[in-house]
Symmetry: C2
């Protein structure tokens, strides 16, 4: 079964109302007078990291990618639960985990440690507290909204390729937690750009039932000569969001397009309609 089919089948199971129909990046759990944000992401050897990867980077990225989902909800991290499969370089894994927990000021809540054989996988559940309600959804864009990006895309791609100044962007990404919290009261929709700007823009447009018209020239990229690569590569973890045209945003952001009623495709890149998500970016399952 492939990932889309599996997720479609999951939607037929008993879902918590806070699961948002498994259409969003996080679950939203109202409890007592608080709103908790919950997310769980896995990383598998051979799929999400190379067999020779520095395990400190793997641990850092496991924390950072989950916190990036919290950032897109404007949440403040409360704690994380780790699912760890023992193996080579566990001491390095712990170093990276320690560094990330300190850097992002989030404590460990618990988890599980298992023996494994063969390729390894890790899971992390991150729990955050919403700093603003309603919690920004993936689906709330309105026609006439502007589309924004908090920073350039393509840095992780260059880091993956070995460009020294961008290694950290690939190996040790930073979730935009402060930006997400500042933006939450202003946005109509928000998500993190984990799978590439085009693909994630397409998903956000689809979720909102509208078209996002991107202005090629306005998109900040790490290497302008390779714009088409930069906007298809993932792992950058900038925030993509929509907001009313009149919004006075509290943090710097690049306006990269507008939201319009349904047009030729969910996504327009300049004049070019893009309707096939398979051509847009990084789908690694």
């Amino acid at each position: 079964m492939n990932e889309p089919d599996f997720i479609t089948a999951l939607r037929a199971l008993p879902l918590h109302p806070g699961a948002r129909g498994l259409q969003d990046d996080c679950a939203v759990l109202e409890i007592g007078g608080e709103t908790l944000i919950l997310t769980h992401d896995m990383m598998a050897e051979g799929t999400h990291f190379r067999e020779g990867a520095d395990m400190a980077d793997v641990a850092w990225k496991l924390v950072a990618t989950n916190l990036s989902d919290l950032a897109a909800k404007g949440a403040e991290p409360v704690g994380v639960l780790l699912g760890h499969m023992l193996g080579r370089d566990d001491a390095r894994f712990l170093e990276g985990l320690h560094a990330a927990l300190c850097e992002f000021n989030v404590p460990l809540l618990g988890g599980d440690t298992v023996a494994g054989t063969g390729l390894r996988s890790f899971g992390l559940t991150a729990i955050g507290r919403a700093t603003h309600t309603p919690v920004p959804p993936r689906s709330g864009a309105k026609a006439g909204d502007h589309l924004y990006l908090t920073g350039p895309v393509g840095r992780a791609m260059l880091g993956f390729e070995g460009v020294p100044e961008h290694l950290a962007a690939f190996n040790r990404p930073s979730p935009r937690l402060a930006e997400g919290q500042a933006l939450a009261p202003y946005v109509s929709a928000m998500m993190d750009v984990s799978d590439g700007l085009l693909l994630d823009s397409w998903r956000m447009a689809q979720a909102s039932g509208l078209t996002f018209a991107l202005d090629r020239q306005a998109i900040p990229v790490a290497d302008p000569a390779r714009l088409d690569d930069c906007i298809r590569w993932g792992d950058d973890y900038e925030l993509l969001f929509t907001a009313p045209a009149a919004a006075a945003l509290p943090v710097p952001a690049h306006r990269i397009g507008i939201v319009t009623s349904v047009a030729a495709a969910p996504l327009l890149l300049g004049d070019e309609p893009l309707s096939d998500p398979a051509t847009l970016g990084f789908q690694h399952g």
Copy 2:
């Protein structure tokens, strides 16, 4: 690094107060006037399930083992987050997941689906709401308390060996959720017996800094002719707890021993002192 060393190293990281020093089975998170109970358990192919296992049973057990941790805290399940690695028989996995969610009346909150290569692993985070505070710890036994078990051990062992009437005990265990909720106000310490009665009794005694003196004849076992095996095998998921001698327990339970001040070893089985956990049960990492 082995599991005890890894967990010791984790304890040196920034921990949430609700992590209880990573000495307990769940995290306890007070939020918005409520007390949430959080747990995350993984299952790895080759370690926790056989390569040819029915994936419906694997999914069921993934849910049941996590809910069993909630049961030991007297918690009512709120929802689960699934970390799923795609592979063979995903439709069967979904059937077992569906059955378990319905049986235990717990909805899906979210999760992640990843592609994998080679042996598979799955993770589940279960979230519950405490029905009684203080939440029963693993460490609260008092000298003079009685030690109880909610039901027989050894059924999962017989099921693993293929005895027809016990197959369900191994493949489709039932967390003692109702019993845990009923018992929470009465117990001084409680945990689920996932790794074998002797090993888990030893752990609970160590956590409380006391000795548990077990009465061999009083321990309910699925096969009295194999008592020594039954009390060392895991996967039964009965609740083990201590309570004051005068407690009028709300559910039937077998009194299997008493709690005393420190004696020759953390555990006495009749006259036999047991101090080496390596001889006590099932340590699978």
